[in-house]
């Protein structure tokens, strides 16, 4: 490709014109601080010339620089890693750091700003170096997270509370005619922020303590019972004392198939993994060849475990047949569905399984590069998987000519940065490419046009790990477990009001009741009120669903979904109005904002629910969420309004249904399409807003 890059030095700014894919880059003002520069250079290496932010050398750089760009230096996909590097080192990303990153990666600052502000784990204002992200999502709320967060905020201080509050503040600022003076230094002390589900639902309440600095730390606290524990952990990290103990295996992991190694294998040791039968599957795959592997996977009828339940064999076959090259493999480990923690357990406790399975998938589909897009909130998984990749490399199980074959394959971990939507496969591609995590419209599908516009196979962690046994046993043999349409086993993330929350692996076909029995039933012998299947994007079912068989087909026929395997139990004491509001708020916070039905619809859904909660449970009960107030013109307006102007409940319920239909029908991606599903099914099946005796004797 005939691409050239022409730099012209302007008087006050650097203009960079990239022909071929025309880019006129203006970087104005602020220079990076030395630590910021060091953080970025630590990732990208020292700058090659004055044009890319290094010291200017007249002899070498001249006045005009021409370089091949697209092939050689187009490294926009390193935008997120670069932001992470600065965030980890400094705790926030300044304009100087932004400018330097833009210069290094040749990205327009406005676009980079758009990317930076998309992800909630990146800060654009100074913050204390140690921050506690405390989960206040549905499972943790059932264990008193709301009160705990409030008291932690009082003890430690809250810097704008939740990520969405930060975004509100940013928006309010953007909505001033001109931006006010930015804070230049971090406020002292630690900070408590609210976080969406941290994937520790079996051990609530969870908190993630992130410390920025030369040696950045990230530790997950589980079973947090008091705000003092959080304050103590913050103080420990700040003083550089031993950080809080890392989380260990979940309280209950029950399973004999893909979970069989967990608790027995040493996740840090390749030898231990091999002693448990590891890397036999890859050897067999290399032996039989890619076509045979795909045939076995197709014969197994393995359906995707991430939520969409697409046949894996068909996906692999489509990518393998694509003539465009190269092919890419992406392991979707951006597990963010509230209530889901299965992938985290697999990655933390058995990381080699995912690495081996990715190698097999890469071999079958003709990929030479694989990415694990790992949730930013999973520090332990990141550490373990990186270690596994390194060990596999050292043993010749990754890299050039694996096990002496012609097959070469490499895996790279890319960290998410706090965006649920990036679990959507096309949003994930955009995120990997250094763009805002906005879903693309399909078709074209990833098998045809995926990551970097190339054929791409995307699989969930659990899906991939299943492939190991399929290759070893043969697809037909493997498919004998489960039902005809739902083959194999499934991981269920059981949480909420059960005696033994945890990860349970069951063959497809068991009932909800049998699963709950395994988990010890509803805690303290209380009555079951409802079950959330599939997470925030899933559906509620009532106590009558205990006999429902857990298979894709039965659950679909019952108008529900297995989604990512969430089974969250709510007993009679649970405040479902509060839960529904939190789910709706989650959808509002996590909407990417691209399409109208989801961007505005999720906000209206929260507003309608707030009205319904107020009307159903009376004015005495304040809206449970901190941001119960509605925004208007960037300021907070108390939600109370004269009763006469409040539209009546029946109308609001009908409006919710119509809004739900439009969001389901007209949104671009699955987030908007399912954003009303839990709310609607809870109202229809659990009659949440219907028979509260406190409601003015209203009959419906």
């Amino acid at each position: 490709m005939a691409c050239s890059c022409v730099f012209v030095l302007g008087s006050s700014f650097l203009t960079l014109v990239r022909t071929g894919s025309l880019l006129d880059l203006h970087i104005i003002g602020a220079e990076p601080a030395p630590e910021e520069r060091a953080a970025v250079d630590g990732l990208l290496g020292p700058p090659e010339s004055g044009w890319l932010g290094g010291a200017r050398n007249i002899d070498r750089d001249g006045r005009v620089s021409r370089t091949g760009l697209d092939e050689v230096t187009d490294r926009r996909d390193l935008l997120l890693p670069a932001f992470h590097a600065v965030q980890d080192r400094i705790g926030w990303v300044s304009r100087g750091a932004l400018n330097y990153i833009c210069r290094r990666l040749i990205v327009p600052p406005a676009e980079a700003w758009g990317v930076l502000t998309f992800y909630h784990l990146f800060n654009t204002e100074p913050e204390p170096p140690v921050v506690a992200h405390v989960c206040d999502d549905i499972a943790c709320r059932l264990k008193g997270a709301e009160a705990l967060v409030c008291s932690a905020e009082q003890i430690v201080g809250s810097g704008g509370a939740s990520a969405s509050a930060k975004a509100s503040a940013r928006l309010a600022e953007a909505r001033e005619a001109f931006p006010r003076e930015r804070r230049r230094s971090a406020p002292p002390g630690g900070l408590v922020k609210r976080s969406p589900c941290l994937g520790q639902c079996d051990r609530p309440v969870a908190a993630l303590i992130i410390g920025a600095g030369e040696k950045p730390t990230a530790t997950t606290l589980v079973n947090v019972a008091s705000a003092n524990e959080i304050a103590l952990a913050l103080a420990n990290v700040r003083s550089g004392a031993a950080s809080a103990p890392p989380s260990t295996g979940p309280a209950h992991v029950v399973g004999s198939k893909i979970l069989r190694r967990i608790g027995h294998v040493d996740p840090r040791s390749l030898d231990s993994y091999r002693a448990h039968g590891g890397y036999l599957a890859l050897a067999r795959a290399l032996d039989v060849g890619p076509r045979a592997v795909i045939d076995e996977v197709t014969a197994s009828n393995l359906l995707g475990r991430g939520g969409a339940a697409f046949p894996t064999g068909r996906k692999w076959d489509a990518v393998a047949r694509e003539r465009a090259t190269p092919h890419f493999l992406v392991c979707n480990a951006d597990e963010s569905e509230p209530g889901t923690f299965k992938d985290r357990v697999l990655l933390e406790e058995d990381p080699f399984a995912t690495v081996e399975a990715m190698s097999i998938a890469g071999f079958a589909c003709g990929c030479s590069r694989g990415f694990i897009y790992l949730r930013g909130e999973y520090p332990l998984a990141r550490e373990r998987v990186q270690q596994a990749i390194d060990s596999a490399h050292a043993a010749g199980l990754l890299g050039d000519r694996i096990l002496g074959s012609q097959f070469s394959f490499d895996i790279e971990i890319r960290r998410g940065a706090g965006a649920y939507i990036c679990g959507e496969e096309t949003a994930l591609f955009n995120s990997l490419e250094g763009r805002r995590g906005e879903p693309r419209s399909k078709p074209p599908f990833p098998a045809e046009v995926g990551l970097f516009g190339k054929p791409t196979v995307v699989n969930n962690v659990e899906t991939l790990v299943n492939v190991l046994d399929i290759v070893l046993e043969g697809g037909a043999e493997w498919a004998k477990v489960g039902t005809r349409q739902s083959t194999g086993t499934r991981l269920f993330c059981v949480s909420g009001h059960v005696a033994r929350a945890g990860l349970y692996e069951l063959p497809f076909g068991q009932t909800v009741g049998e699963l709950l029995e395994l988990a010890g039933g509803v805690a303290d012998g209380r009555r079951l009120q409802g079950i959330l299947l599939g997470g925030a994007a899933g559906t509620f079912v009532g106590p009558d669903a205990l006999s429902l068989k857990l298979t894709f087909e039965d659950v679909r026929a019952a108008g529900a979904t297995l989604g990512s395997g969430v089974v969250m139990v709510f007993d009679e004491t649970a405040d479902l109005g509060d839960t529904l509001l939190r789910i709706a708020k989650f959808m509002e916070d996590e909407s990417c904002g691209q399409c109208v039905p989801c961007r505005v619809g999720t906000v209206r859904q929260v507003e309608i629910l707030q009205r319904l909660v107020r009307q159903t449970f009376g004015g005495a009960k304040a809206p449970p969420l901190q941001e119960g107030a509605v925004r208007s013109g960037g300021t907070l307006v108390p939600p109370s309004r004269p009763a006469s102007t409040v539209p009546d409940r029946v109308r609001d319920l009908a409006l919710l249904t119509e809004l739900g239909q439009a969001m389901r029908d007209a949104s671009i991606c699955g987030l908007g399409q399912t954003a009303s599903s839990a709310v609607e099914t809870a109202i229809a099946r659990l009659r949440v807003f219907r028979h509260d005796p406190r409601v003015n004797g209203e009959q419906e």
Partner: protein, 316 residues
């Protein structure tokens, strides 16, 4: 061949025939059914193209012939038989055998709710086309609550330069200005979408004022803005003063006097004063785009620009 050997070069003999371009391969045709009628369009055409060929009126907002379709507004959705959800007409390619309904109850509901969601959160007072669509679909934005009590994008107007005004209270986030500032026209990348969800907004880096950004004031963003959120200053001032009078306005096509490219300008005039300069979207030279001189360099036409000289004359 050695280095010293002379290279002989002779022109090929002149052909006696006038050369003709190679024949273009015949584009394949696809046949789709729209509201019961068969329509044939060339391969690669979108459902929107097919609907237009069938004279179906499909509302659009974020779509423009000169920009890459990004299907974010969702007002052009149609029902495609066999598809789980509605599909955006503007970007979905027509395929043989598609059976499409452009005005089914599902389509109507979705379009109506989408229009209501926009009208309940954005000031559409200068978006005449959208107002018309709201009436057409019987949309009632008040259903979501009184405007004072629900979330809106209301905010102060941004006036930070002499050429144009940004009133993001009127922004429907159609991404058109971002596309025009980026690879679809100008390649300046001064603005992008920042933030997320309902907080997503059009922004320069760190929301700095335009003079501190990469903006080159080509005004191509104004040309594509469908709601008047971006407006040339004269128009904004006339509207503020309540003197905006479309019935007193004329639009005259001329050629830009500045450089040799020869862009077509459409000069809008009210009361003997130029209020804005546009260019036709279907113009071969401009595709609707102009530069800062063509778009804003018209002040010399107005008589008061001459007053210092007149002053000098009167002094003599």
């Amino acid at each position: 061949m050695s280095d010293t050997e002379a290279i002989s070069f002779r022109l090929p003999p002149r052909s006696s025939q006038i050369p003709t371009p190679p024949e273009r391969p015949q584009r394949k045709l696809v046949e789709v059914t729209i509201d019961g009628g068969a329509v044939t369009v060339p391969e690669g055409a979108t459902i929107l193209d097919a609907c237009r060929a069938a004279h179906k009126d499909i509302p659009t907002l974020c779509y423009l012939d000169t920009l890459t379709p990004i299907n974010v507004c969702r007002v052009c959705v149609v029902e495609l038989e066999g598809a789980r959800v509605l599909v955006p007409a503007c970007s979905r390619k027509a395929e043989t055998g598609m059976v499409i309904h452009t005005d089914s109850p599902r389509v109507h509901t979705s379009r109506k709710v989408v229009l209501e969601l926009l009208a309940s959160s954005v000031d559409l007072s200068t978006a005449d086309d959208l107002q018309q669509r709201l009436r057409e679909y019987g949309a009632d934005p008040q259903r979501f609550g009184s405007l004072a009590g629900i979330a809106t994008v209301h905010q102060p107007v941004k006036i930070d330069n002499d050429l144009y005004v940004r009133d993001y209270s009127k922004c429907v986030l159609c991404y058109k200005c971002v596309e025009a500032c980026g690879t679809d026209a100008q390649n300046t990348f001064a603005i992008a979408v920042a933030g997320r969800g309902f907080h997503a907004h059009i922004s320069t880096e760190l929301d700095v004022p335009l003079p501190e950004s990469a903006c080159v004031y080509c005004g191509n963003c104004i040309a594509v803005c469908p709601t008047g959120a971006l407006m040339a200053k004269p128009e904004f001032e006339l509207r503020q003063a309540g003197e905006w009078a479309p019935e007193r306005q004329t639009a005259t096509d001329t050629i830009c006097p500045y450089c040799g490219v020869g862009c077509t300008l459409t000069v809008h005039v009210q009361d003997e004063r130029i209020i804005k300069v546009m260019s036709p979207l279907d113009n071969d030279v401009t595709r609707g785009n102009l530069c800062v001189k063509g778009r804003f360099g018209f002040e010399y036409v107005h008589p008061e620009r001459l007053s210092p000289a007149e002053d000098r004359n009167s002094e003599r």
